[in-house]
Amino acid sequence: MIQLPDAERLVTALIDQMRPQVSSAAGLVGIRTGGVWIAERLHTALRCTVPPAALDVSFYRDDFDAEGLKHAVQSSHIPFEVEGRDLILVDDVLYTGRTIRAAMNELFDYGRPRSIRLAALIDRGGRELPIAAQFLGATLEVPARYSVDLEQENGRLRFALREKK
């Protein structure tokens, strides 16, 4: 039986890791949808001067041929200048690394950031690209037949485990 960690605790752990290492001028970029919720929490706790960005990577995914436009696509919204800024990509579950690759490609279409670091709530292994998180809540072993998703209910974050069809 897989023991799911407490998402709220992991958010606190992330904040503790990031506070000494992230300046208030950094741009937080949450990847929809789970990453956006986390980015909002981080934004408040880290007192960032610019609002958090929300990134929808649907148009940059590498699985379009097989999957098409899977979910209802939402717009990306980046309320700050990317050019020359230190960015932190924020995602809920780091898995194959392809979402992060797509997110970085999309960010570079907005401008040339000074740096990009990655904050993830959990790392479930199974990487298919050379991508790593600089700020990490926890690692979690999850067999491939399961998906792990972040959910928000009454303002509280929690993980859910589902068997893939």
Partner: protein, 318 residues
Amino acid sequence: MFLDRNPQLNKNGELHHLLSIDGLPAAILLQILDTAQSFVGVTGREIKKVPLLRGKTIFNLFFEPSTRTRTTFEIAAKRLSADVINLAVNLSSHAKGESILDTVANLAAMQADMFVVRHGSSGAPHLIARHVGPDIHVINAGDGRHAHPTQALLDMFTIRHYKQDFTNLRVAIVGDILHSRVARSQIHALATLGVPEIRVVAPRTLLPTHVETLGVHVHHDMAKGLKDVDVVMMLRLQNERMQGAFLPSPQEYFKFYGLTADKLALAQTDAIVLHPGPMNRGVEIDSDVADGRQSVILPQVTFGIAIRMAVMSILMGN
């Protein structure tokens, strides 16, 4: 003869071709509008491209000349990083013997992923869609008098942008309904999206005999037709209508059916004015209305690119 399955949808009920608005459920129309919303954001950026359709080849197969529609499709395809080939099929070389289907078969053999087709005969894109392989998608860019689905979609997107709720609107479509593929598609789209009152305003010569069966109220008097409407959709009047005894002159047409500030004043004060373009100023629309504060004609063009990007993406992905 046999009631074929709707050729536009695949067996999962997803959009496989876009041939007409007629026959599409509201869910699919809304999917296109919602997807287009994201693409509006893209077109506002510095880098207006996304890599979604990289490696795909799209053929613009225009049997009827049209710079403006073809250009919008080309821009849309390029913003999706697809390769675009424009083919203006010269009707005289066409008459030399290569049939529509031969042309299409030859192009399909060149790894085409999608055809965007404009043709002077109603039903030509249906014919093409019936004969292409299962991995090729067809978009109707206007066929005869039958349909112009992407135009209607961008019109719906425009209306939603300014008015939000379809179920609360009165819409008037003014002009040559009889010959208009745009009007037919607009009527189907408005009806499917739940617009409660759709009016057509035209002289009897420019209305199809059974137009009420499309679900519209008929007006010959523009003053009555525009009263209290929220949206005015103008249609282009083609010069050919003066031949064939449909109308005596552009001047008389303008007198009865041209959109002037006075006539627009009969509509709601915040009514919007749409036109598919290109406009005949002084024939169907007065310049001060076309350039006025209620005109949304220029935004329509921007939205048109986003809509076409949305349609191409959805089709290629299904």
